[in-house]
């Protein structure tokens, strides 16, 4: 054991985390209070979603604690009704919008990022700075002109129209993230592949893409959450047609119905949340990286 470690051991009890001066109780207490405050809104909604429609209207969700083990307290009926009333269709629409809107920009951005990192061409630096700069152009700047073009060509309300729009809006961040990552790969491996006679396409496919999986994953998760949770782009480019409406639109419409939809809202809200929550907690570590660089998007 080195001296520093010995000192650590002397100051801190073994296995104790940092900051021994603060006594434990207030720390646990304040963390607990904040965490509880943060959890109550969604927990309350979740409990509501599992209650009888009549009880949702009649009393607050906290009343379940009186009869937790009463069989009549819990039901999946709200989920069934919500899925029947358009939410299963909206779920399929959300998938149909989201998957291509994630995959297309990743492919296009990966090629561009490779060129920015490992190829020489006139205007490379200027183009890249422009691409990075475009990250801060608000989505709102694009809505009116694109809607005009889409309307003129009669493609508004179609899935391909919204795929390409999401691809365009997602590209600056994707190119930025991927280029930074690909540029930091060791040049020696790419040079030696060159010397072995590999062309750019082969190096990209066989070396750079496999090595870039972490950053590809983190962008994919970021873009997935972004597109799945998007309301604005869907509202403008898919319009009010319930046949193609995605989950966020359907939920917003339902919430506009007020007291009449009270029993369906909690279950419907959780239908919209289930996939992002699974993706989010399953792949959290990839997500944090994308988050740091990415939240200026859109």
């Amino acid at each position: 054991m080195t001296t520093t470690e010995a000192e650590h051991a002397a100051i801190e009890a073994p296995g104790e985390p940092r900051g021994p001066r603060l006594s434990k109780l207030p720390v646990y207490l304040s963390v607990g209070v904040i965490a509880t405050l943060w959890t109550i809104p969604s927990l309350g909604l979740f409990i509501s979603s599992l209650r009888e429609p009549r009880s949702i209207r009649a009393s607050g969700w906290w009343n379940v604690f009186g009869h937790l083990f009463d069989a009549t307290t819990w039901t999946l009926q709200n989920y069934r009704t919500a899925l029947d009333q358009g939410f299963s269709n909206a779920f399929a629409n959300s998938l149909a919008v989201t998957i291509p809107a994630v995959v297309i920009p990743i492919t296009i951005a990966a090629f561009a990022a490779y060129a920015f990192a490992w190829m020489e061409f006139p205007g490379r630096n200027v183009l890249f700075v422009v691409v990075v700069g475009l990250m801060v152009v608000p989505l709102q700047m694009a809505l009116i002109p694109i809607l005009k073009i889409y309307t003129a060509f009669n493609v508004n309300g179609t899935f391909p129209a919204i795929w390409l729009a999401h691809a365009g809006f997602g590209l600056p961040l994707a190119v930025y993230l991927l280029r930074n990552y690909m540029g930091s790969l060791p040049s020696s491996i790419i040079e030696s592949a060159m010397i072995d006679g590999a062309d750019h396409f082969t190096i990209f496919r066989r070396l750079v893409v496999p090595l870039s999986v972490p950053v590809l994953a983190s962008f994919a998760i970021f873009q997935f959450l972004w597109v799945w949770n998007d309301y604005l782009v869907a509202l403008i480019f898919l319009g009010n047609n319930p046949k193609v409406a995605v989950l966020t639109q359907t939920l917003a419409t339902l919430s506009g119905r007020g007291e009449g939809a009270l029993n369906l809202l909690p279950a419907a809200a959780f239908v919209t949340m289930v996939l992002p929550l699974v993706v989010f907690f399953g792949l959290q570590r990839f997500f944090v990286r994308g988050l740091t660089a990415g939240s200026v998007k859109g």
Partner: protein, 383 residues
């Protein structure tokens, strides 16, 4: 900006035949470069829109998703591959000059169409009337900066930008600092709870909080919103929180704080953990209190991260439209710029005012854009 080692085809191991040097001139190469940039997007657009079954909403969703997936993954990839093969048919030197554009071009073309052209067009539309028929100078901007309904939007947006990032960073920082002292399992469990709202859409969050703020006039049934129930329990009259001006703005801001705190907490937590333990211990040995050691040792080290998080949340807040749109529709004095923009252009069909508000949104983030590019340059210089 440092340039990574350049790997042109002509630096490959095979010495290139000298006669090929002269086979291309600059103009042809530029023509080919532009051509190669447009091929992939053009084929993509033609494919998507020529096949009516992708447009037909009656068609089986699974089939659509399947086709979309095949096109999205294999199709786009195959397009790039085909382009690369085409470029390879060129003389060696010309191929080396054109190939980068076949790689980078599709991204640039899409960005040009979906961001650059619309930005310019929106700026022009903002100088035209509601139906984009004739130029009216800066009248839309005069309207936006003089009429009270728009001034309220701007005032509210500024309040959002002042309040939400401050609270999200303050709570996130405080929570990260405290959670750092818990045992590993307790820390990650507590952080997950704060982090969870990050996965929820703004519309979903609006529904979640709609139930928290739920209001029923007395005599119309029990209060099922948790806040009114507590208020009721304390003997108060139930309050319609979302109509209680001007405080309803604050209640809407709370929703975004709830959503954004997880982001700031996670980033700041990893920054705090990167502060060397020795620094804090040295301060402790010198007799610093916990607060002093945080204030004078930890905070200065993580300050640049705090700024990054703060600007990031500022931009998010400034552009947020969903929460106000869903919760109040901008009524009861809660309108903000991003939401008013959508309402003017989409609901009221006023392109001029909508475009002017979009330009206002954009101009306000330009300083951040400049900072971002500068930060990027500095990072590049350090690499």
């Amino acid at each position: 900006m440092t340039t990574p080692p350049v790997l042109d085809d002509h630096r490959g191991p095979m010495p290139r035949p000298p006669e090929e040097l002269e086979t291309t001139n600059g103009f042809t190469v530029w023509l080919l470069r532009f051509g190669s940039a447009f091929v992939v997007p053009a084929v993509l657009v033609v494919f998507f829109f020529a096949f009516s079954f992708l447009k037909d909403e009656g068609v089986n969703k699974l089939l659509q998703v399947g086709v979309a997936l095949v096109v999205g993954i294999l199709g786009v990839w195959a397009l790039f591959w085909g382009m690369d093969q085409l470029v390879s048919l060129l003389p060696r030197r010309a191929a080396a000059a054109v190939r980068p554009f076949a790689f980078v071009g599709p991204a640039i073309v899409l960005l040009g169409f979906y961001l650059v052209y619309p930005a310019v067009n929106t700026a022009i539309l903002s100088l035209q009337d509601a139906r984009s028929k004739s130029f009216i100078g800066f009248d839309n901007y005069v309207t936006v900066f003089t009429k009270s309904q728009y001034l309220i939007s701007i005032r509210n947006s500024i309040l959002w930008v002042l309040v939400v990032p401050f609270l999200a960073v303050a709570v996130g920082l405080g929570f990260a600092t405290l959670a750092d002292r818990l045992s590993k399992h307790a820390e990650s469990a507590a952080k997950s709870l704060i982090f969870l709202p990050m996965a929820i859409s703004f519309v979903g969050a609006s529904v979640v909080w709609g139930f928290v703020y739920y209001f029923r006039a007395p005599g119309y049934g029990a209060q099922i919103g948790v806040i009114n129930a507590i208020w009721d329990g304390l003997g108060g009259q139930p309050v319609d929180w979302l109509r209680l001006q001007p405080w309803n703005n604050l209640f809407l801001m709370v929703i975004l704080v709830w959503l954004q705190t997880g982001f700031s907490m996670v980033i700041l937590s990893s920054a705090i953990k990167s502060v060397p333990v020795e620094l804090q211990e040295a301060a402790r040995i010198d007799g610093a209190t916990e607060w002093q050691s945080f204030r004078r040792v930890v905070f200065p080290v993580i300050f640049s991260t705090v700024m990054v998080v703060w600007t990031t949340v500022v931009i998010t807040v400034w552009k947020t439209f969903d929460i106000v749109f869903v919760m109040t529709g901008g009524r009861e004095g809660t309108q903000v710029v991003a939401e008013t923009m959508v309402r003017e252009f989409f609901t009221n069909r006023n392109n001029g005012i909508g475009a002017a508000l979009a330009v206002v949104l954009f101009l306000a983030v330009v300083p951040v854009l400049v900072l971002n590019v500068r930060r990027f340059r500095e990072e590049e210089a350090m690499r």
